[in-house]
C-alpha cells in the first residue's frame, strides 16, 4: 500500500488505529444526531440495548453479522490477490437465484440433501457471476472495479426480469417466488435449541451463521496454510514477483474471483434460505458494499472480519431498534452511520497514522539514544 509504512507495534496497527477511526466516525454521527434534534448519548444507549441488550436483539445482530462475514470474506480473498471486487452485491443476488433453483424444485428432498445442494447452488451462481469480470481482468486487462460495478447493475436488471416475468407464480402480482417447502428452510437457531430442550429468544438467526464461521476458518487456512493462499498473497503483494516465481497470474486472478463470488453467493443462504424462504427483489440491500468496510476494518484477516462483522451487525440491528423507538429517526440513519464508518475506517484510515507513529517512534528513539 502507498500509505505511510513506518513500522508500528501490531496492537497499534490492528487495534488502536481502527478504534480511533471508529471513534471519529461516531463523533461525526453524533453531530448528525444533534442536527436532527436527537440526543446522541440517548441514541447510542438505545442502539446498544437494541443490539445486545435482550435475546432476540442479539439474535438479529448475529443474523446481520452472518451477512457481513460472507461479504467481508468475499472482499478480503480478492483483496489479498490485489483485486478489488466490488461486485459482491450482484454475485450475492445471483447466489439467491442459485439457492432458489435448488429449493423450489427439490424442496421435497430430505433436509440433509437440500442444504448441501443449496450451498453448492449459491456458490456456483455467485462464482459464475464473478467469472466474466475475472476472465476479462485476467485475459484482457479490463479493470475489475468497473466491470463488477457494471455486473451489479446487469444482475439487478436480470433478477427483476426473472422475478417479474418468469419466476413469480401465475396470477401473482408480487415479484417474488412462492415460499419454499419446509425442507428447504434452513433451521433457525432457536428451533434447534428448542429441539435440545433449551428455550432461547426467537430471531431469524439460522444455521448459516455456523456456515459463515466455518467459511472464516477455511479461508484463514486457505490463505495462510496452503500453496494456493501463498500464491494469491504473492500475486497481491507483487505481481512481477509472482510471474518471476513461475506462478500464473491469470489463473490465480480467476481462482481468487471465483472464491470471492462463491462467498458472496452464500449471503443468499442466510437471507433467502434462512430468513425469507422465497426469492425476492433487492434482498442484498447494500450488504455487499458494506463488506468492503468490514474487510478493511478487519485488516483482511478472517478473525478481524468476524469482529468487524459483529460491529456492523450491531449497528444494523441497533439502528433498526432506534428507528422503531424514535419516529424521528428513519432507517436511513443506519446508512449514514455505515457510510461514516466506511469513510473513516476505510478511506481515511491513514488520517491519524502519522501522529500516532510519531508518538510511538518518538518515544522509541529517545530510548535508543539514551
Amino acid at each position: 500500500m502507498s500509505g505511510p509504512s513506518r513500522e508500528l507495534p501490531r496492537w497499534v496497527d490492528l487495534g488502536l488505529i481502527p478504534l480511533i477511526n471508529l471513534i471519529a466516525a461516531f463523533l461525526v454521527t453524533s453531530l448528525v444526531f444533534l442536527a436532527i434534534g436527537e440526543s446522541p448519548i440517548e441514541s447510542v444507549g438505545i442502539m446498544l440495548n437494541g443490539a445486545f441488550g435482550y435475546g432476540s436483539g442479539l439474535g438479529y445482530t448475529l443474523f446481520y453479522t452472518t451477512n457481513f462475514i460472507f461479504t467481508g470474506l468475499a472482499f478480503a480473498v480478492a483483496f489479498h490477490a490485489g483485486l478489488f471486487n466490488i461486485g459482491a452485491e450482484g454475485q450475492a443476488y445471483l447466489g439467491g437465484l442459485g439457492v432458489a433453483l435448488v429449493c423450489l424444485p427439490l424442496g421435497f428432498l430430505p433436509m440433509v440433501i437440500v442444504i448441501p445442494l443449496a450451498i453448492i447452488g449459491a456458490a456456483l451462481f455467485g462464482a459464475a457471476w464473478a467469472f466474466i469480470p475475472a476472465y476479462l481482468q485476467a485475459k484482457r486487462g479490463s479493470h475489475v472495479v468497473i466491470t463488477t460495478i457494471m455486473f451489479n447493475f446487469i444482475a439487478s436488471a436480470l433478477m427483476i426480469y426473472l422475478l417479474v416475468n418468469v419466476m413469480s407464480p401465475k396470477g401473482s402480482m408480487n415479484p417474488e417466488t412462492r415460499t419454499f417447502d419446509p425442507n428447504a428452510h434452513l433451521p433457525l437457531i432457536h428451533d434447534v435449541f428448542a429441539g435440545l430442550g433449551i428455550e432461547i429468544a426467537r430471531s431469524p438467526l439460522n444455521l448459516s451463521f455456523l456456515w459463515a464461521l466455518i467459511c472464516a476458518v477455511v479461508i484463514w487456512l486457505m490463505l495462510w496454510h496452503t500453496t494456493l493462499g501463498y500464491q494469491l498473497r504473492v500475486l497481491g503483494a507483487n505481481p512481477a514477483a509472482a510471474t518471476y516465481a513461475g506462478m500464473k497470474p491469470p489463473r490465480l486472478i480467476i481462482i481468487a474471483m471465483l472464491i470471492s463470488g462463491a462467498l458472496s453467493g452464500f449471503l443468499a443462504l442466510n437471507e433467502i434460505m434462512g430468513s425469507q424462504n422465497r426469492l425476492l427483489l433487492e434482498f442484498t440491500a447494500g450488504y455487499g458494499f458494506v463488506g468492503i468496510a468490514v474487510a478493511l476494518m478487519g485488516r483482511s484477516h478472517p478473525f478481524g472480519i468476524v469482529l468487524a462483522a459483529i460491529l456492523f451487525g450491531a449497528l444494523y440491528q441497533g439502528g433498526a431498534d432506534l428507528s422503531f423507538d424514535k419516529p424521528t429517526v428513519t432507517r436511513d440513519m443506519i446508512v449514514v452511520i455505515q457510510g461514516l464508518v466506511i469513510l473513516f475506517a476505510g478511506a481515511l484510515e491513514h488520517m491519524f497514522r502519522p501522529q500516532i507513529a510519531r508518538l510511538f517512534q518518538g518515544s522509541r528513539f529517545k530510548a535508543r539514544e539514551a
Binding site: 502507498s2 500509505g3 448528525v32 442536527a35 436532527i36 434534534g37 478489488f84 466490488i86 466474466i132 476479462l136 484482457r140 486487462g141 479490463s142 479493470h143 472495479v145 468497473i146 466491470t147 460495478i149 457494471m150 455486473f151 447493475f153 446487469i154 436488471a157 436480470l158 427483476i160 426480469y161 417479474v164 416475468n165 447494500g286 458494499f289 468492503i292 468496510a293 478493511l296 424521528t328 429517526v329 428513519t330 436511513d332 440513519m333 443506519i334 446508512v335 449514514v336 452511520i337 455505515q338 457510510g339 461514516l340 466506511i342 469513510l343 476505510g346 478511506a347 481515511l348 484510515e349 491513514h350 488520517m351
Partner: protein, 323 residues
Amino acid sequence: MEWLDLIAQVSGSAIRFSVPLLFACLAGLYSERAGVFDIGLEGKMLVGAFTAGTIAALTGSAWLGLLAAILASVLFALIHGFASITHRGNQIVSGVAINFIAAGLTAQLGETWFKLGGQTPQLTNDARFMGYAWPFADALRGVPVLGQIYSQILSGQNILVYLAFLAVPITWWLLYRTRFGLRLRAVGENPAAVDTAGISVPSMRYAAVACCGILCGFAGAYLSIAQSAGFIEHMTAGKGFIALAALIFAKWRPVPAMWACLLFGVLDAISIRLQGVPIAGIGTVPVQLMQAVPYILTVVLLAGFIGHAVAPKAGGVPYVKEK
C-alpha cells in the same frame, strides 16, 4: 409523417434524459483525467438534487437552489479529495462511503425537515427551471423535419439543457487548449513530471475534484428542480453509475462523452416507449434488457471488442512525493 413526429418526440425526451448523465459524465471526466477515480458521482448528484430541492422550496428561487446544489456537491467532492488526495486513502472506498452518506443523509434530513416521506415540498413553476418556447415554435410544428427539430428538440428545453451541451465545448477547450487543462491531464498520466515542473500535484487534483463537484451539482439540480418539481428519495436511481459507464464508453474524452450520454438517453427514451409494445418479428423486448444495455455495452467495450478503453495512467493511484 406520423413516425417523424414519433422520432422527434423520442429525441426530445432522449435529450432530457441525457442531460443529467452529461453533467455527471463531464464531472467524472475532470476528476478521472486528473487521476482521481470517482464512483461517488451518484452520491454527489443526490446531495445536489436534495439541496436544490430544499433551497428552491425555501426561497422560491431556482437559481439559489442551483447555487446551493453546487456548494453542497463541491463539499462532498472535497471530502473525497481530502480522503484520496491529502490522506492517500483508497479512492473506490471513499466513493462508496460518499454514496452511502449521501443516500442516508438526504433521506433522513428530508424526513426530519419536511415530514413528507423523504420528499421536499412540491415546487411551483417559478421555483423551477422551466422550458422556454422559442419564437414561432408552435407555428413551425407542422413543417416536416426542420420544423419538428426546431419546435420539439431545440425549443422548449430549460436553460440547464443548453448549459449541459455548452459544457461540452467548454470542457474540450479547457482540457486541450489551456495550460490548466494540460496540467490537469498531466497529473492524471504522470504526476511526477508535473511535480518536477514545480506544479503542486495536490492542488491540481483538488481543482479537478472541485470541477467535478460543480458539475455534479448541476446534474442534481437538473433532476430535482428542472425535470421534476422537487426532490424524491433516491431519485438519482443509478444515473451516476450510467454516467460513469458513459465516461468509460467515451474513453475519457469530452465530445465522445456527449455522444455516449445521448446514446444512453436514447436507449432510456426508447425503453419507455417500447414498454409492453411488441416489435414485429422480435416480440416485446423486456424493459430490463433495455435498461441493462448501457452496462453491457460498457463491459463489451472494456473487454476490448469495440476499440480499447485505456484509463488515465495514474488513475486511482495516490501521489507520493519522493523525498
